[in-house]
């Protein structure tokens, strides 16, 4: 079978898989950002128990493997009466995992906003919430965006693991085609190239655009 024949026979299935991978990546990325912001801010809270809670979450999710977390969420949580369908379990596991890494990025960025900005917020009599939302976070956003570019590629790569709980993503489609045709080089090679294209021509340009967009809004350019 030549390569064009292979693509015309199995291309549609790989494409379907790619669409699921994109959905998983977007949902997991949104969840990761939400978790990262929440736990990143909790990590610098003046309240000790809040800080401790954030530390426990971050250390657990950074200290174990994504695959272990995915299996745990999918196989163990139902034993406690919390049954989640595989599609949801997939992006939730990836989002929670990368959210823990993101939390450290958020914390670092917030802490690197110059001291004077915090003091100016106090001097203007802004409430702590308003100071964070209107003064600190927008500036922290500019600082943390480059690191998020790498994290988003990690999110994309992480979603390949959801195939292990039978979510029909690109990885899953590739494995199935491999199982029936044994054309391993063609199918896995094509899948690798698709992931590469998504990362290099999808995520990276989007994050660069976002960096420029935010910088312009902040009047930094």
């Amino acid at each position: 079978m030549t390569y064009p024949e292979f693509i015309s026979a199995h291309g549609p299935r790989l494409l379907d898989g790619t669409l699921v991978t994109i959905q998983q990546t977007i949902l997991a990325a949104l969840l990761a950002v939400l978790i990262a912001l929440t736990f990143g801010m909790m990590k610098i809270s003046p309240l000790r128990p809040v800080r401790a809670l954030a530390t426990v979450y971050i250390e657990i999710f950074r200290g174990t493997s994504l695959l272990v977390q995915l299996y745990w969420i999918f196989f163990v949580l139902p034993l406690f009466g919390l049954t989640i369908d595989k599609f949801t379990a997939g992006f939730v596991a990836v989002g929670m995992n990368l959210g823990a890494y993101g939390a450290e990025v958020v914390r670092g960025a917030i802490q690197s906003v110059p001291r004077g900005q915090w003091e100016a917020g106090v001097a203007l009599n802004l409430s702590p919430a308003r100071r964070m939302w209107r003064i600190i976070l927008p500036q922290a956003l500019v600082i943390m965006l480059p690191a998020w570019g790498n994290l988003m590629i990690e999110v994309l790569k992480g979603t390949a693991l959801v195939a292990m709980i039978s979510v029909a993503d690109l990885m899953f489609a590739a494995r199935q085609i491999n199982g029936t045709t044994y054309l391993s080089a063609q199918v896995f090679g094509t899948a690798l190239v698709i992931y590469y294209v998504l990362a290099r021509f999808g995520i990276t340009p989007f994050m660069r655009w976002l960096e420029r967009f935010v910088a312009r809004r902040m009047g930094r350019v």
Binding site: I60, T64, S65, L67, W72, V76, L79, F80, Y182, L192
Partner: protein
């Protein structure tokens, strides 16, 4: 099957899981050694005067870093037999994970090499040292200490990625937990124990890396 934790079952499966932990550590170690050597090759290839070689090495690193490790593991394991090379799960797994982390480590080395002052090169040239000699005796000894923190982080990283080897049948921790789960229809204890074992290894290891980093910084006079 239920949400109730059985201590008897835990004690029964613990020896098997601890044995498998040994294989997990072994896999991480072998993979890391391969990555350390290949990573240096990839980093040095990007510093040669040959543009084509530099470009290929650069693209290769980018490609490896932006595609999933699990797919690379499958690729190596299934594609090699197509070309007549049968690889055992261990061999295929070590090649894939070693190559993946070589790409990451090459970036760490690159950063370290770039941090060596230009004057060091000029001094070596004026002393009439050859390129190889210069790297070995002058540049690498100065560059490597700068690489230690990054290398430490990826040591923890490779350890946490070893469960992916279970998908091609490497009998490490995750694979064993899966096997116990399918034999006994109990997933709560094996999967939870795997998580706990990983925490018990990776948290102290990460702490160790942090300490090594501060000690190194103090030694290099970066902080008091």
């Amino acid at each position: 099957m239920g949400g109730n934790w059985s201590w008897d079952f835990t004690l029964q499966i613990l020896p098997r899981l601890i044995e498998a932990t040994g294989y997990t550590l072994l896999a991480a170690l072998i993979g890391y050694l391969i990555a350390m050597v290949l990573g240096l090759v990839l980093a040095l290839a990007q510093r040669t005067p040959w543009r084509v070689l530099t470009l290929i090495a650069r693209e290769f690193v980018e490609f490896i870093r932006s595609t999933p490790l699990i797919l690379q593991i499958f690729f190596v394991f299934y594609v090699a037999p197509q070309f007549g090379v049968r690889l055992s799960p261990w061999t295929a797994g070590m090649i894939a994970i070693g190559l993946h982390y070589a790409a990451y480590l090459s970036e760490v080395y690159r950063g370290g090499l770039e941090s060596v002052e230009k004057g060091q090169w000029e001094a070596a040239t004026s002393l009439n040292l050859g390129t190889a000699h210069c790297y070995r005796r002058i540049i690498l000894p100065q560059a490597l200490p700068n690489c230690i923190p990054g290398m430490g982080n990826y040591l923890v990283g490779i350890l946490k990625d070893t469960p992916m080897l279970s998908v091609i049948g490497v009998a490490e921790l995750m694979h064993t937990a899966n096997a116990i789960g399918t034999e006994t229809y109990r997933f709560l204890e094996p999967f939870t124990l795997v998580g706990l074992i990983f925490l018990c290894i990776s948290l102290p290891l990460a702490e160790l890396v942090r300490r090594a980093e501060t000690r190194l910084r103090r030694k290099l006079g970066l902080v008091k």
